[in-house]
Amino acid sequence: MLYREAGQFKSSYAADSAILPIRQDRIGLAIILAIAFVVIPLAASPYLFSAILIPTLILALAALGLNILTGYAGQLSLGAAAFMAVGAFASYNFVLRVPGIPLLLAFAGGGVMAAAVGIVFGLPSLRIRGFYLAVATLAAQFFIVWCLTKIGWITNYNSSGVITAQRMQIAGITFDTPQEKYLLVLTIVALMALAAKNMARGNIGRQWMAIRDMDVAAEVIGIRLMRAKLLAFAVSSFYCGVAGALFAYAYLGTVEPEAYSLDLSFRILFMIIIGGLGTVLGAFLGSAFIVIVPILLSVAVEFLDNTLHLGVPSSVGSNLQLMVFGGLIIFFLIVEPFGLARIWQITKEKLRLWPFPH
């Protein structure tokens, strides 16, 4: 009743092919953006920014990148964290060695470096698919992190191995407080998500989806596999690179290889599995899920510990978290293999009919 598109007529091709053709969707998105840009910076606590909102947004960006590669183009990759690391270290080096470089250009440069590395490690995808490609990306993950640890020039010959990220400054405005960092991250992520959505709707997105579904058939109808696959790797690594740079500058405050371990790669993979492969919304929903669930779990364990006085050791919390994670992944794969985004889609479809059953 409220969500009908009845009465909304399109009178131009542009209106017809808009991202959000239904007015209620546009209003909904406007409300969400208003809350995100205006209400939250005014109302949220610094803890909420630094522990929940900022990592959710940054990891959502990385999940978006991995979703482009695995969800749209069908190339399974376990090396997302390595490309994030490349982006972080490249941005650090740009800011360090090019005096006066604009910060956003440094981030973009980090993304471009990550894209270049992504193309190199994406070359095997032209010959191998499926798990074998996953192993190739694992090779990328371990090799890249090893390189970043061993090659002194990248870390500026830092003896401790932990580099403090420089302060973020754009046109004289420094981004020090959690609020300012949050707004910067939000702007970058929103713009890149819009770009990703448009890419997915356009020619290249359709080429990727054709390759994912059956690459032999895609080649038969004239899609150039090498270009499309390498482009998928490049774009995905660009997104992961920018996310990595943001991860170092806006979240951790340090640039270190250990933060981009295999564990992070798996977390990002879980984000897109739980969120929904092949959707932009899925990256955000999955990221929120993976960031918030551990916090909820530890709060719950602590609450139970305090009320029931069980004397539960802290390791129980982290082990329970592992079990719940694993269990949830299996649960989602059995019950809704298309993830939270599909659940949202089904909800919207039911809303269109409400209050009627069909």
Binding site: V135, A136, A139, I273, G326, L328
Partner: protein, 298 residues
Amino acid sequence: MLSFVFEVAIGGLLSGVMYSLVALGFVLIYKASGVFNFAQGSLVFFAALTFVGLTEHGLSFPVALLVTLVVMVIAGLLIERLVLRPLVNQPQISLFMATIGLSFFIEGLAQLVWGANVRGLDLGIQDEPIAWIADRTGVNVSKFDLMAAAIAAVLVTGLGLFFSRTRIGRALRAVADDHQAALAVGIPLQQIWGIVWAVAGLVALVAGMLWGARNGVQFALTFVALKALPVLILGGFESIAGAIVGGLIVGCTEKLAEVFIGPHVGGGIEGWFPYVLALAFLLVRPEGLFGEKIIRRI
């Protein structure tokens, strides 16, 4: 100098045997059900931890071994029933990701039940060089590694005999070839999968005990599973002989690379060398040394 190369090579071969044991579990499950079981590493960890936990609680070696065996078999059957059966016709990638989730679950469960301390596992054989050989040739070969190789040989022979001589083994091979044809002939698919997972649990137990005795029973044991991936790629996903040969190659080249190339580039090569080797191999011979050449019709 040459004896040093020899020593490193033999040490590498013997550690490769350990990788083979883990890869064996992968191969068994992949052969029978086409599922790449990422949780094999956590099963190894769980088996080792259960065994050590039981011995710490006072059970004697053989009793603890028997109980752990039963636990692993039950675990295998439960996994097949609860995780794999609901996902029967899903694409391979969903099954793979389900096993990743399963590995997290098993790790958490193992540590929840038995605690996260590093424990030693004593099998009674020391990790010392055999004096007899060391005196004659100057090459140090560890007693423990040789025993591990012997156990692996026994296991592989046992499995080989099981597959070729018994009815159940033949049924397993039939299921591995073609599920539908096996169903048509009357082979109960669900039972076979249950048996396969139980046997994989047994292999995980053997691997867990050997690895645990070598490196101590700790969380890092689960990452052994990741090392088994290059082994499988080199050997082929469906071949037991491939798992052995692949393990030997990976173990040997990894150690040789670490010792001879490592110092020139700063060390720590062991972490990625097997993967890069597997990658190079994939580009040349994607199905591995002993794997079946997959002709993808569509």
